[in-house]
């Protein structure tokens, strides 16, 4: 390390190896999960090759399948951010589903109050209402953590059930559209308050673009801003952050609120672009798949984009797999669950693989 080129090489290794490690280990976990799941399929007498071929066919092979996939990406992007943003502060928030459901409901209620409002005014207000509701919901979890030391993982999970119950109650009671008979819903949104498709040739709604934008903005916040830097200090060692006088409580509130706002936007787009009203269809499990998305992406907002796309494709293939392979709907959940367990196990590998250690390369 005496020459200038040696130092350059050292810097490259010191910065590059951890990044490479953070890419290789999750991909390895995904492949290992697929391998174990193949064993599960073989035990059922089904062909793993056919399964993965169908995922490709239904999710990624044609413009139609890409349309099928991309229309499911938006909620996963937002739900992934709801996990990844608080994760910067060391908080494991797994109740994004609750913020999605309540965000969607609030957007639908707001729309109901503004019938006849033009799109340019109505849609931003609906989005704002959804984001504010989701933000408050998850920030409440941050607040409980700061003030009372309540475990945020358990609180967020339990509050998701409360959120779903509240939504069902309101949709079946005060806000029910009398015309919705079999499936209690809020009043259908007027056409002016529906978000349409992007002008890109396939039918993918604007939620995808805004989801990608949210990921890029979150990345700027976490990776490039001083606020994100302060959050990383607090997430890595809260005592060090306190000794430095950093406002740890405000950071926790801010990041949980921001994560919740993202989930609320997921609900807004589900209501305005997909369902056209708030009802039990909002409880689609995106909040839970978002946990897997964020963990596979190692809480990096930019990595959330490809990971969410991959998982959206897998979920999009669920129907085809059901029909062609005669497997139940839940098969995809088994696959995701296995991948998640392997992924959590793979966390123990960081820093243990010689290939990613500085010494492995710097010694002759």
């Amino acid at each position: 390390m005496t020459t200038a080129s040696g130092q350059k090489g050292g810097q490259f290794l010191a910065q590059g190896l951890p990044r490479l490690e953070a890419v290789v280990i999750p991909i390895g976990a995904l492949l290992t999960g697929a391998l174990i799941f193949s064993g599960f399929l073989l035990a059922l007498g089904k062909s793993p090759a056919e399964f993965f071929a169908l995922i490709y066919k239904a999710g990624f092979s044609s413009p139609f399948s890409w349309q099928n996939t991309l229309s499911r990406v938006a909620p996963l992007l937002f739900a992934g951010l709801c996990v990844a943003l608080p994760a910067r502060l060391g908080l494991v928030v797994i109740g994004g589903e609750g913020a999605i459901v309540l965000g969607g409901l609030m957007a639908a209620i707001t729309a109901g109050l503004m019938l006849g409002t033009p799109s340019w005014l109505g849609l931003p207000l609906m989005a704002l209402a959804g984001a504010a509701m989701g933000g408050l919901w998850i920030a409440a979890i941050g607040w409980l953590r700061i003030k009372r030391g309540v475990n945020e993982t358990i609180a967020s999970l339990l509050m998701a059930y409360i959120a779903i119950a509240v939504m069902n109650h309101l949709v079946e009671g005060p806000f029910r559209d009398p015309a919705s008979l079999n499936k209690p819903s809020t009043a259908p949104l007027p056409e002016a308050l529906r978000v349409g498709d992007m002008p890109i040739g396939i039918d993918v709604h604007w939620g995808f673009a805004f989801g990608v934008l949210a990921c890029v903005l979150s990345w700027l916040l976490i990776d490039r801003s001083t606020i994100g830097f302060a959050a990383r200090i607090a997430g890595d060692n809260i005592r060090a952050a306190q000794v430095q006088g950093l406002p740890v409580g405000k950071l926790i509130l801010g990041f949980t609120a921001l994560g919740g706002a993202c989930a609320g936007l997921a609900g807004f787009f589900e209501v305005t672009a997909i369902h056209g009203a708030a009802n039990a269809s909002l409880v689609a499990g995106y909040g839970y798949t978002g946990i897997l998305v964020a963990f596979l992406a190692r809480h990096n907002p930019l990595a959330i984009i490809p990971v969410a796309t991959l998982l959206a494709g897998i979920e999009a293939s669920s129907g085809l797999i059901q029909r062609r392979m005669d497997l139940p709907d839940a098969t995809i959940l088994v696959f995701e669950g296995i991948v998640f367990v392997v992924l959590l196990l793979s966390e123990t590998l960081y820093g243990k693989i010689p290939l990613f250690k500085h010494g492995f390369w710097s010694k002759p």
Binding site: R232, N237, A240, Q244, L246
Partner: protein, 513 residues
């Protein structure tokens, strides 16, 4: 396993233990240097020494946690091979730790039973209860067996710990600061029982302590360790507290040869009647008056656990005051980032990797904690400047001789001395008026210690006010201009460095003068 301890075996007599020329080296560091110690059968032997003097290392070698680099152990005059704590227990050696090792949710009886190596797979409680009661009848004291341990008082828990060792058949007990968590009344009671057991010839005891009063009152013999060497030994009755302090602290140090420029600066930091709860929540930290001037190092001496950590927490805003105030330059100080920055206050708690660094972030990032969020003119900065961070890091790494493969390596990969250097580089760079620092040299090698102490003195000579909290009295005697002794959450004693008398300081540290 015929040698397995059993309550039903007739009680053997107390055993005598002798450590012969025991040495323990960790790398280049000699923690224990040819220590020979003899504990007569049935005697109560006290082991005195400051923090880091080698007391724990010695007993860990005896118990088989460590394998001594040199020397050996005699049990009743015969050489004993102790490979691990299981061997030690089989030979009748038992240890009661400073912190309780009972299972809080289990009752006393359950705790005793599960501690046995031969605990039965199916427990016949009727039979075991009878055996336990028979055992307790033979003991000079008892402890409640039916309540969960979590509901026992500290004194009852300590008695149960000792009973557990007797139940396991230990005939030689090592007590590691057994009274540190007890009230004086409880301490006297427990030690009285232990002494009675020794006199009855049931056990021999080696007690680690730094309380002189307990030594004079209960011990037969005393040995003193200092920096890994045995500095004195003899009957407790023949030694005065001053003798013990002298052995513990060593001879008076010659005045430090580092050039000191005289300062008589303004008061920078002052505490008035500042009160806060201590870590246990039961006691109170109460600093009646503390003033620190510019260009002065104020040393806070004391045995660990007497409120120094809490004092640091109070000064860094991590422990709320119940009453009183902390002022800097005459203004109330709440330890927010803005205040600390405006008043040029830096803080470095003990064990920086745990308390002052983000271990998974890089060295460069850790070096930037103080000023990543402001531009040089002091206005807030929104976008992080990674290039500037890396440039500053390279500067500080070379100025403070921090050994790291790269500024981008995680700081946790550095050695302790280099983490300390990095943390010190961060806290001392720029304009500093007041530095709060705790145990800056704990666990570091000589070179690192010398470098860090030189940095502190240089800062002092430039007019920085330094509050140095340290458990190492030598460090305080070398660096401080003025010395305060903390004991049981209060400032017990104050002296100037010139007039400092180690024996006197030692007595106040031990909590009675």
């Amino acid at each position: 396993m015929s040698a397995a301890p059993s309550v039903l075996a007739p009680p053997k007599a107390a055993i005598g233990i002798e450590a012969v020329g025991m040495s323990m080296r960790f790398g280049d560091f000699t923690a224990l240097d040819h220590v020979t110690l003899k504990i007569r059968p049935g005697s109560f032997h006290a082991l005195l020494g400051e923090n880091g003097a080698g007391k724990s290392t010695l007993v860990k070698c005896m118990m088989g946690f460590y394998h001594a680099s040199d020397g050996g152990l005699l049990i009743d005059g015969r050489e004993a091979l102790i490979r691990d704590p299981v061997d030690a227990q089989r030979l009748g050696l038992g240890m009661v730790y400073q912190h309780f090792t009972l299972v809080p949710s289990l009752t006393g009886a359950e705790n005793l039973l599960i501690s046995r190596a031969d605990a039965p797979a199916v427990i016949s409680w009727r039979k075991e209860r009878a055996a336990l009661e028979a055992f307790l009848r033979k003991m000079p004291f008892s402890a409640p067996l039916d309540r969960p341990v979590s509901r026992l008082s500290a004194g009852e828990k300590q008695k149960l710990e000792i009973l557990k060792q007797l139940y396991l058949g230990s005939r030689f007990l090592i007590l590691d600061e057994p009274t540190s968590v007890l009230t004086p009344g409880e301490a006297d009671e427990v030690l009285g029982h232990v002494r009675a057991l020794c006199q009855a010839g049931e056990i021999s005891v080696l007690m680690i302590t730094h309380k002189f009063r307990e030594v004079s009152q209960f011990a037969d013999d005393v040995s003193v360790l200092r920096k890994g060497k045995l500095t004195g030994s003899g009957p407790a009755a023949d030694l005065s507290h001053a003798d013990m302090a002298q052995m513990m602290m060593g001879a008076q140090l010659p005045p430090s040869e580092t050039a000191r420029t005289a300062h008589n600066g303004d008061v920078v930091l002052s505490l008035r009647a500042a009160k806060a709860p201590d870590r246990s929540g039961l006691g109170q930290i109460e600093i009646a008056q503390l003033d620190l001037r510019a260009g002065e190092i104020l040393g806070i001496a004391g045995v660990s656990g007497n409120g120094q950590t809490e004092l640091m927490d109070m000064l860094t805003g991590q422990r709320k005051l119940n009453a009183g105030q902390i002022q800097v330059h005459g203004r109330d100080y709440g330890a927010t980032r803005r205040e600390a920055r405006a008043l040029k206050i830096r803080a470095l708690p003990e064990e920086p990797l745990q308390n002052a660094c983000a271990p998974r972030m890089s060295v460069a990032e850790n070096l930037a904690f103080r000023d990543f969020d402001q531009i040089p003119d002091g206005r807030p900065r929104l976008w992080k400047n990674s290039r500037e961070m890396a440039r500053r890091a390279v500067e500080l790494i070379s100025a403070y001789q921090i050994k790291t493969t790269s500024p981008h390596s995680p700081i946790a990969a550095l050695s302790g001395g280099n983490v300390q250097r990095a943390a010190l580089a961060r806290e001392l760079s720029g304009d500093v008026d007041l530095l709060l620092i705790a145990n800056p040299c704990f666990g570091l090698d000589f070179a690192a210690v010398a470098a860090i102490r030189a940095r502190l003195l240089a800062a002092r000579n430039e007019g920085v006010a330094i509050l140095l909290i340290s458990e190492d009295l030598d460090e305080i005697l070398e660096l401080a201009d003025r010395i305060l002794v903390m004991s049981e959450g209060k400032i017990a004693f104050e002296t100037s460095a010139e007039n400092a008398d180690t024996a006197e300081i030692g007595a106040y540290m031990a909590g009675h003068a």
